[in-house]
């Protein structure tokens, strides 16, 4: 969790004998052929790489103190310092270096020691100049003083304020993948800038279509990280990282003695801490809710000898938006009613099948009728051919015997051929609407009476199972419980401590474990700076 620093830097920060040094660099990222912040973060925007014209080392002009504060709780860090010169070089209007003082230029604070190689120094702040730098010309002292404020990358308006709509993600996409994509597409971060963000969070999307709508990139990233108890932050090098809000993990650093620690304080604070956490998610199973039975479709089907099977596809709505189950057909008028059906032939069979939730098929089958008809025609032909030409005299008229039989059969054949019928059908069913069910878990500290409950409410649609809600509620409740016990300590400047780290301090009365929430440091020349860490006492669970 902690910032990676070299072994040499670790040795320096563990020592009380140091020759502390700092460096303030300003990068021009706005000029033509200027380095990008991604190059600065990746360490490739160096003089050796041909960017010397875009890098300004202002360390020698810095009039201490340099103030660095990292307020934590998803807020941007802030760096302020003064530049003092006897020339106008830092005048934002007329100075030779005025382009370095424009809004958006990158300021970097590096900290180290005379005994440390340049590569072992730690980047403790990387951010952008915000607003107008201040400038004072003093005719009495012949000094020109420039006041610079820079904010960490979290304050970048594009990251913090501009909402976006993500692409649609399918099922079983790891949330870490989405975080990485937001980083690349919405925050224009490079691979180095995302190197401290886990590539996978071990939790996947559950719905067929998932998108993030109208959240800012940082809100979206934090919402995704929240599902596994993480929060986002930009580190001192300008790299997007994730830190854990889980207070039950082991300490990141255990101090063996109090040699580096200058003070420890249980600060008097008015805190209204939460003692209950409610987490609401969305059940991954979609439920169908039935509505009263209603008529969904109606069809009229004309049938006749021209086709053995008459099929009609019926939909509940033309746009196939209405879904229904337990559908059944009611025959309003059967094809068998009428001349033929009531007489010699049963005309056909009528059936219905539901194809899917949105449509069904009505089928009228008259193939038996047609087969009978064909048999009749064949029989007629046979009769015609078979009967001999025996003349029977009826008075003065003669008639062939075959013709009598033939005409009898032909009458039936013509009758069958001329018969058409039609049926009228109605489909009834239970329409149902698919709905997402909410899942909710409320975790309350034991022993809190109802009238003292103070509830924090979290809502995250990326949580889709009850045990996920339970885990998060437990983690958040322990975190909130700790908030009731703010603690502070002052320690000689530590290059590797970051927000979200857990440290154990050995007090005379016993160890205390503190989750660091904010860090501030005032840097002077030739003095080992003391950093003030504010945090919360980790409950021993």
């Amino acid at each position: 969790m902690m910032r990676e620093i070299s072994f040499a830097a670790k040795q320096v920060q563990d020592s009380t004998t140091r020759q502390f040094r700092f460096q303030v660099l300003i990068y021009d990222v706005l000029g033509s052929a200027a380095p990008t912040i991604a190059q600065i973060v990746a360490g490739s925007a160096t003089s050796a790489a041909g960017f010397s014209a875009f890098i300004l080392d202002v360390t020698s002009f810095v009039d201490p103190p340099v103030n660095l504060s990292e307020p934590g709780d998803r807020r941007a860090s802030r760096l302020t310092f003064n530049l003092l010169d006897t020339t106008r070089s830092f005048d934002p209007d007329f100075g030779a270096n005025k382009r370095f003082l424009q809004l958006g230029q990158v300021v970097r604070l590096r900290e180290g020691d005379t005994n440390l190689a340049d590569a072992d120094w730690a980047n403790t702040f990387t951010g952008h100049i915000r607003g107008q730098v201040g400038f004072v010309q003093n005719r009495e002292t012949f000094e020109f003083e420039t006041r610079v404020s820079a904010y960490g990358r979290r304050a970048t308006p594009k990251f913090l304020k501009q909402t976006f709509i993500s692409r649609t993600y399918g099922r079983r996409i790891d949330l870490g993948t989405i975080v990485q994509e937001i980083g690349v597409q919405q925050m224009m971060l490079g691979s180095v800038e995302l190197s401290r963000m886990p590539a996978t969070l071990g939790k996947v999307t559950q719905f067929l279509a998932n998108s993030i709508v109208e959240l800012t990139p940082l809100e979206a990233v934090d919402k995704l990280l929240e599902t596994v108890g993480l929060a986002s932050d930009f580190d001192g090098s300008g790299i997007l990282r994730a830190y854990s809000r889980d207070l039950q993990r082991s300490a990141d650093k255990v101090y063996a003695d109090l040699s580096l620690i200058q003070s420890y304080e249980v600060s008097e604070a008015e805190v209204e801490a939460y003692n209950s956490v409610s987490v609401t998610g969305l059940d991954k199973n979609i439920n169908l809710i039935d509505q009263p039975e209603q008529a969904l479709a109606r069809a009229t089907i004309p049938v006749g000898f021209w086709r053995p099977t008459h099929k009609v596809n019926v939909v509940w709505t033309n746009d196939r938006s209405l879904r229904a189950r337990s559908t059944n057909m009611r025959i309003l008028t059967s094809v068998n009613e009428g001349l033929v059906g009531g007489g010699i032939f049963q005309f056909g069979t009528e059936s219905y099948t539901q194809i899917n939730d949105f449509e069904g098929e009505i089928r009228v089958d008259i193939s038996l009728y047609l087969a009978t008809l064909l048999t009749l025609i064949t029989a007629t032909a046979i009769v015609w051919a078979a009967f001999g030409d025996i003349v029977v005299a009826i008075g003065s008229l003669t008639i062939t015997v075959g013709r009598i039989a033939q005409q009898t059969l032909m009458t039936i054949v013509f009758l069958a051929l001329s018969t058409v019928s039609s049926g009228q059908y109605e489909i009834y069913g239970l329409t149902n609407i698919p709905v997402y069910h909410q899942l909710a878990v409320v975790m309350t500290k034991q022993g809190v009476p109802d009238y003292l409950v103070h509830q924090k409410q979290l809502r995250n649609d990326f949580l889709n199972e009850q045990n996920e809600l339970l885990d998060l509620a437990r983690l958040e409740l322990i975190f909130e419980e700790a908030q009731a016990k703010p603690r502070q300590f002052e320690i000689l400047r530590q290059f590797d401590l970051e927000i979200g780290d857990i440290v154990t301090i050995p007090l005379d009365a016993g160890n205390v474990t503190i989750w660091i929430d904010s860090i501030s440091v005032t840097i002077d020349r030739e003095i080992i700076p003391t950093q003030r860490c504010t945090g919360y006492l980790v409950p021993t669970v």
């Binding site: 059940d283 997402y436 669970v541």
Partner: protein
């Protein structure tokens, strides 16, 4: 179905509250008699999270809603004065709210009461026991609102 008088509820508009929210119909919408003039107006009992509000009016022109079955998720609109009315169907329904307590010193999680509501038509057995008056007091085909432990907490 008993025809209740519309209850007047008072609500203050709370800044920051979203103008729309999701609810769930617990009783089949009924026509209720308005206090003055005997005007009929469709209303329903609605669950909003773990609260139940009765006699929530249904907006005109919402023909489908009049036939909504108990358990159907609905969308509610909050008027500038804080009154709620049902405007349409919703895609989001409530589920159970499961409660737990956490002992910070031991880390032990204990499960507590679950808040949930469901509805069904009163059974023959319930007709006698749902209200103290015995048979005859609860009309046949009334809808019972039941909490997570199976106790009837309301009839409509």
């Amino acid at each position: 179905m008993p025809r209740d008088l519309i209850r007047i509820w008072f609500a203050e508009r709370v800044a920051g509250h979203s103008p729309e929210l999701d609810g769930e119909i617990l009783t089949r919408p009924t026509l209720a008699v308005f206090d003055t003039g005997g005007t009929l107006m469709p209303v329903a009992t609605v669950r909003i999270s773990s609260d139940i509000i009765s006699a929530v009016p249904i907006t005109d022109n919402s023909h489908d809603l009049l036939y909504a079955q108990p358990g159907t998720p609905v969308r509610l609109r909050r008027s500038p004065t804080g009154r709620l009315e049902i405007t349409g169907l919703s895609k989001r329904a409530f589920g159970a709210v499961m409660r737990y307590t956490l002992d910070i010193s031991t880390g032990v999680v204990t499960s507590g009461a679950t808040t949930d509501f469901s509805t069904h038509q009163v059974t023959l057995g319930e007709l006698a026991t749902a209200t103290s008056g015995g048979f005859g007091e609860t009309p046949l085909a009334a809808i019972a609102i039941v909490n997570a432990s199976g106790t009837i907490i309301g009839l409509s």
